[in-house]
Amino acid sequence: MGKLLEIKDLSVGLPLPAGLLHAVRGASIGLDRGEALGIVGESGSGKSMTALALMRLLPQRAVQGGSITFDGVDLGTLSDAQFSQGFLGHRIAMIFQEPMTSLNPVYTIGRQLTEGAVRYGGYSEAAARKRALALLDRVGIPDPVARLSQYPHQLSGGQRQRVMIAMALMLEPELLIADEPTTALDVTVQAQILDLLAGLRREMGMAMILITHDLAVVAEQSDRVAVMYGGEVIEEGEAQAVMAEPAHPYTQALLSAIPRMDGPPRQLGAIPGTVPSLLSPPKGCVFAPRCAYVRAECVAARPPLLGDSAHSRLCILTDAERPARAPAAPIRADHVMGKQDVPVIDGRDITQVFTSRKGMFGPKHTIRAVDGVSLTLKRGETLALVGESGSGKSTLARIMLGLALPTSGTVEMLGRPVADLLPLERAALVQPIFQDPYSSLNPRRTLAEIIARPLTLRGTDDTATIATKTREAMEMVRLPSRLLHSYPSQLSGGQRQRVAIARALVTRPQALVCDEPTSALDVSVQAQILNLLTELQAELGLSCLVITHDMAVVHQVADRVAVMLGGRLVEEGTCDAVLRSPSNEYTARLLAAAPQFRPEVSGVQETFA
């Protein structure tokens, strides 16, 4: 029996005003029945486009080349109607990244679950309902009968993703495509959904394509892995082999960029440069501009496909030529200057209550977003504040920043109550860095203006001083000064986050409050930013309050950890102590849920360390 799915030389182009964007170039992927394939890549690598091309969900204008064969049928020969009625749902189904918006808000769950099966699957209304109930029960939705008449907004994100999974499985497809199915969900929910998918796949003997940016998830869930970069599949093979002995320099670099929970934190292997523009793809290797082992031949022509079907890569380097990587230096020994027991920001007994009304006349609701929390940020330390969405961590951060006054409780900065500080004094002490560098920078100002803004707000009007300080701040965050007059839209995500950090540092504050500083960034860029924050802290003796949901990030940067749940602080202690032996049951759950490389796969450790 042949392969279930054979994608050969797939190319996808998107016509843009600036030219044709080559989103996927010459990608070939094969999949056996019942096999799980992980497609890994950073944003813009073409991994989602590949799946959308397979599902015929590309934008109308997209140009597609190559061939897709499913169970011996060349899908290219089918009309849109033949494909959508003969394959979609029946044989191939897909679940998407955004469970919050992927269900139609105005129709019931029941209708959305059953309509496809009734319309295109030959099910009767009653049979479809029965099947939907059984599936809802299987995916772990309590009280399925009641759920059928509910609407999407009445369900949580995790529940909606479970409904999406049930919906995709209604007609027992032979192939399920899951595009970042857990990225938008909380950590503990992520683990549950991934386990559910793995279990369902085994039970139904279904093949699965799991698209993700998270290598640890792929390592846990897939038989085979395809690594995509710049629209090409640059490495492909059995998951164990690829994870343990990555053959392509990009895969190697990507693996070393992931903060790992085992062993002491080390300098992350950041990949220099940024993802290439896909408007004019290079003649040679697409990774060459960022590759540490680049040679003249790499730039001249496309690299050959080396290796066998068990493990292949698009790279000129043979096994013997590939240098072993030097072990990364451990970081954060206790030589960080100025780490003292002096509180910089001291929050005591902070409670924040929000009241809201349902509609114009509805009853008042009160929510205790933060409930009696005391938290101290000491000089020179990094304190990680961990919790899932709705735990109150961002509200607490705003209060610790002095941007909002709590309902009750006090915040002191260097011993003075924050209510007594003028806004400018407060801004000189502590500065924020926000999650999304795409929306937190003013798009109409140049970098020079953005970075110098805190200075002008403080009344500095000496242009020479401003220019010097701006340049210094840009040097600190390793931004080249030629970017001084560019606009944020011309920068990559990582560069934007550097701008945000430079802006925060230009007044030389004592403390930074970083709200999910890397969660909107790709792994390789996250590594750059985390390394930068660690270095800056050592250089400047900064105190950092880092808000995050990612335990690996905590392990990488934090001295101390505080865990929040439902507005309360449930655990606090040194990073080592909390991560090694959490005393709270919730912390333990968070840790267990964080995807990690399994021991048998962490041969990576030996290769690198």
Binding site: M55, L88, L103, G116, H153
Partner: protein
């Protein structure tokens, strides 16, 4: 839900009374009704006599509360001009205006929504550009001018419709088209942008991944979402057509509320003007309430918080 409707209705009444209060004081400050009734050449004695007879010598607040008391008993006073109860006068004329407003709204819906949907499903095509052209020109053309042109074209040059009056359905065709055309641009654009946005939504992608295409996709997944904002605006437009048909009714000599409003304003017939303002305000607020209720029925996120 019932409680919500009840509370909103009370609020609507409050709005209507507030509007009537403002209108009452403005009207009485801007004109001297006694002078208007007596005529421009009347002597001071006659004017004073009229003032005393109609109670116009009372202080304004007293007169407002007298009017208000009457309204609460269902008595809107007597017209100075036609010398009969205002309520009767309004009731006589309302039928014509309601017919015209509903006909005009139908014209709007029948032109704007299909045109907007076609434009949205074929963005940047010739249909889209044509629809945009229609919208821009319809927005640029003043109502009275369109009315006159329609009369010249379809009543004089090609006499298929009567020039004026309100006796048969044929009398309503031209005015309904003219009145309806004024709302086409807004509704068409709203339908177009709404539908384009919805067709790009994640849940439409989900429906496509289940095999839905073309008409089924539009009917079963896109239309209800796209029409939610259109319904709110349509309701407001209906309110406007009800109260704003003054010009159209005058051009086509239709004996409706718009014409009554014009005549009573010119005649300083304060009780009639006062009642018309009150009625228009009630209609306006009621239409908004209706839109909210329809939206709540169509959108479970409003119905079930």
């Amino acid at each position: 839900m019932l409680k919500y409707i009840l509370l909103r209705s009370l609020l609507a009444l409050a709005v209507a009374f507030t509007v009537s209060l403002a209108a009452f004081f403005l009207l009485n400050v801007a004109t001297d009704p006694a002078q208007a009734i007596a005529g421009e050449d009347a002597t001071q004695e006659v004017v004073d006599m009229i003032r005393a007879r109609y109670g116009l010598d009372q202080p304004l607040p007293v007169r407002y509360f007298e009017w208000l008391g009457g309204v609460l008993r269902g008595d809107f006073g007597e017209s100075y001009y036609w010398h009969k109860p205002v309520a009767e006068l309004v009731a006589e004329r309302a039928g014509v205006t309601i017919t015209l407003a509903l006909a005009a709204l139908s014209v709007t819906i029948l032109i704007a929504i299909p045109l907007g949907a076609l434009a949205a499903l074929n963005p940047n095509s010739w249909i889209d550009r044509m629809a945009l052209g229609v919208a821009v020109s319809a927005q640029a053309v003043p109502n009275f001018w369109l009315g006159l042109i329609m009369i010249i074209l379809f009543a004089v040059m090609i006499p298929i419709f009567p020039v004026s009056g309100d006796d048969t359905w044929r009398h309503f065709v031209l005015p309904a088209f003219v009145l309806g055309a004024s709302s086409v641009p807004a509704i068409m654009r709203l339908t177009r942008t709404g539908l384009i946005e919805v067709m790009g939504a994640d849940y439409i992608r989900t429906a496509r991944s289940k095999g839905f295409r073309g008409g089924a996709l539009l009917r079963r997944h896109a239309l209800r979402n796209a029409l939610l904002p259109v319904i709110s605006v349509l309701a407001v437009q209906l309110g406007q057509k009800f109260g704003g048909s003054v010009i159209t009714e005058s051009i086509f000599a239709i004996n409706g509320l718009g014409r009554l409003a014009l005549e009573s304003i010119l005649g300083a017939d304060i009780p009639t003007v006062q009642m018309l303002i009150f009625v228009f305000a009630i209609v306006f607020v009621a239409m908004n309430l209706l839109a909210d209720i329809i939206n709540a029925i169509l959108d479970p996120r409003i119905r079930i918080g």
